[in-house]
Symmetry: C2
Subunit: 190 residues, 2 copies
């Protein structure tokens, strides 16, 4: 599928847009390509855009004072990523966004999203639905983090997203689970 | 302030409604009073409503197979609470919602929220904004959970919400931080 078809299929799972409406909406998205390892958002940035992934894989992560990395999110095809606190609230970015693999995205600015939400009730509905989903997923992950051990969370992650197994290096999966690489290796071998 | 004034002040921080519009919106909220300890949502329930707190304090929590309690959220005056996975997605509740103190709420059904969102762009905007905020807060809490020890998270919680100190028993604050009551007592005495 081309970028237009991927976005259209994604939106039309939730809302109805005519061909003409979709084409107008699509004209606000800017295609971009990034290389493996390239940084899209760096801690301290002002953030204007969010990114809809077409191919490849992104990660959002935080580096603490001891240089330990915590991964908040992976983002694969049809996932969205940004520093949403910075994007919504005009705060400086506290997280980083970069590319685990070569990645193709569609980039939507905060200004254009709000414009489209004003112009189309269906688009406003889509973004409300998306935020609701993100909130629920985030609460579930928090609960799993509090309640389950790393082995359980590792199996949960790979059963939900089996494609991560091949796409994402093991030390990054460890940083997502909040365990050391050694602990993760032990889980692999059990 | 009476219930009407509390909700109006809350909505009008984010959106503009005329007196007439607000009165119409308000007519969809049902006032309810619950006693300390009373259950509003029980695991397994079908959930139709969300709750806007006017006075008192609620908690949402999960009980695992070993009967250990994990608190997802406290909800005080002007906070919203429900099992949002159950509410948005029609799933059975996996969490519980009950009253830490006698509590007064305004209850809004899923059907009425969607009706109001269709009737007023401003209300749709409000709920999108609220979900965005919830998502960002949830991501921050997850990050804090991964990155900070219990002492740091305890101080962070009480500096953000000093009123919790008097409103919420210490064993519930421990269940929110994901530590034992004994660990929390030690932090108190340090």
């Amino acid at each position: 599928m081309n970028p237009q078809e991927i976005l259209k299929a994604h939106l039309c799972k939730t809302i109805n847009l005519t061909e003409e409406e979709f084409n107008y909406v699509f004209s606000h998205f800017k295609p971009k390509r990034f290389k493996k390892g390239e940084k899209i958002i760096t801690e301290g940035d002002i953030v204007h855009d969010e990114y809809f992934v077409l191919s490849g894989c992104l990660k959002t992560y935080y580096i603490n004072d001891n240089q330990k990395m915590f991964i908040l999110q992976f983002a694969m095809c049809t996932w969205w990523a940004s520093d949403y606190d910075a994007l919504y609230n005009g705060a400086r970015a506290i997280i980083n966004l970069d590319c685990i693999t070569d990645t193709e995205v569609l980039c939507l600015s905060d200004v254009d999203r709000e414009k489209l939400c004003t112009e189309f009730d269906q688009i406003a509905y889509f973004f409300r639905w998306r935020s609701n989903r993100g909130y629920v997923a985030s609460q579930k992950r928090l609960l799993s983090f509090m309640n389950n051990d790393a082995k359980y969370r590792y199996e949960e992650l790979l059963s939900m997203y089996p494609q991560l197994y091949n796409l994402v290096p093991k030390h990054l999966i460890a940083a997502y689970l909040g365990v050391s690489r050694e602990t993760l290796s032990r889980l692999y071998n059990e």
